[in-house]
Symmetry: C2
Subunit: 278 residues, 2 copies
Amino acid sequence: MVIDKYAPIGVFDSGVGGLTVVREIMRNLPNERIVYFGDTARVPYGSKSKNTVLRYSRQIVRFLQTKQVKAIVVACNTASALALDEIETEFDIPIIGVVKPGAHVATKTTVKKRIGVIATESTIQSNLYPTLIRKEAPDITVFGKACPLFVPLVEEGWTKDPITYEVARRYLAGLLEKDIDTLIMGCTHYPLLRSLLREVVGEKITLVNPAYETSQALKRLLRELELENPQPYWEKQESNDEKYRFFSSDGVERFNAFANSVLPYETKSTTLVQIDEF
Amino acid sequence: MVIDKYAPIGVFDSGVGGLTVVREIMRNLPNERIVYFGDTARVPYGSKSKNTVLRYSRQIVRFLQTKQVKAIVVACNTASALALDEIETEFDIPIIGVVKPGAHVATKTTVKKRIGVIATESTIQSNLYPTLIRKEAPDITVFGKACPLFVPLVEEGWTKDPITYEVARRYLAGLLEKDIDTLIMGCTHYPLLRSLLREVVGEKITLVNPAYETSQALKRLLRELELENPQPYWEKQESNDEKYRFFSSDGVERFNAFANSVLPYETKSTTLVQIDEF
């Protein structure tokens, strides 16, 4: 394993949703360089099987290794739920996902010991959030709900729309009846629905954003491994386009457009990758 | 080219939507055997680029050729729009898509010379429906509208739901203002929304279902090439499971469940295919 503190962090997702994790890493670890890969040619993962998501994740890790990354963040709940265990042991590089940090914080947050999780079909079926939470605190009850329309609604741009509100109301009605006090937004697209979800669930439920928690977990991991980039970002000569590099397996213009609606600066330089060759 | 009249028809789609075409072939060409491939590991195609859809389509044609099919139906509007021209010339086997038959019938149907097309993002952007229609009848005006939420709404099972009605009303409002008298359901999932679309557009607009038109075009093609299966279906010894074979690149249980909601008989025997190896 090459240990180069100046090397970038590799971040990947099934598409553009993982950019909400990138945004948190940019904010909270401003010294770090980032290489992002979005698998837009095969998006979404949320309705696909473990074997398929695992195969795709392996290809992406191999691709990121060609970019000499020092650590990898699986910025996709589905891939974290279905593939993280395997790729963690198969590859000789530190890898973290978004599920564990989100589950951990929810466990610390809930007072009523009742947590809701909204996510894709595959993440819910994997049962990983409940499993991790109960491992930490067996007295907590977890209620899951798959919300397959949220991702296409976000990608349609209807993040503050009455239709989306109605869909959310219907998806969440069952969870609200369970008297939860904490709700995990278990898909990287969902934080983009935060204000609408807030309206639906009211003020008394804490919304957990695994993207933020993951950036904190990454910070701790880099510190532990002594892999933090020691060069403060304000001393750097490189531009944002050198510091942050974006790759996708399809539709780089679409990718750029979405990226620019999520990230704090304008990116124009996404590069196309034939990911099934890795 | 092997010419075997008893050989099956190959049919493919990005996922399960093409089963509406299979259903029409079963009804209208009951003598024919079918091999269906649904690319559920990479679904949907509707938001992906021409290059990617072309690469995927080539792999699928190569797979279907291993099943000794005598002709291929591209039962996916996006793949028909983005890949048909190329694969038609590259492969030595008769191939038809769903766009041309749908466009042709709409041209014959419209009296006002004003046609609407609803489809995926990529199909609309390809401009193929307007191009084909104007080639036949330059005096016809075509209005397109991408409806990216329809596929996930159908897959959620909300085909008769007030939310879907509201989404449809919003998507179609602009087209209805254009005084169209014919509307092409330019995505294989959309016929499953037929009764809801009928409510939204009223009785005066003709809904064109390219799936039905494609089965008729296939019938003419087989007759022309003298490739019709001469053995009447009532004389056959084989069961439906032998006559109709289903393959998908992921989630065979999910595939079966959807297939059984669309097809006129129960199928249990979908086989998993690693499609990127073809």
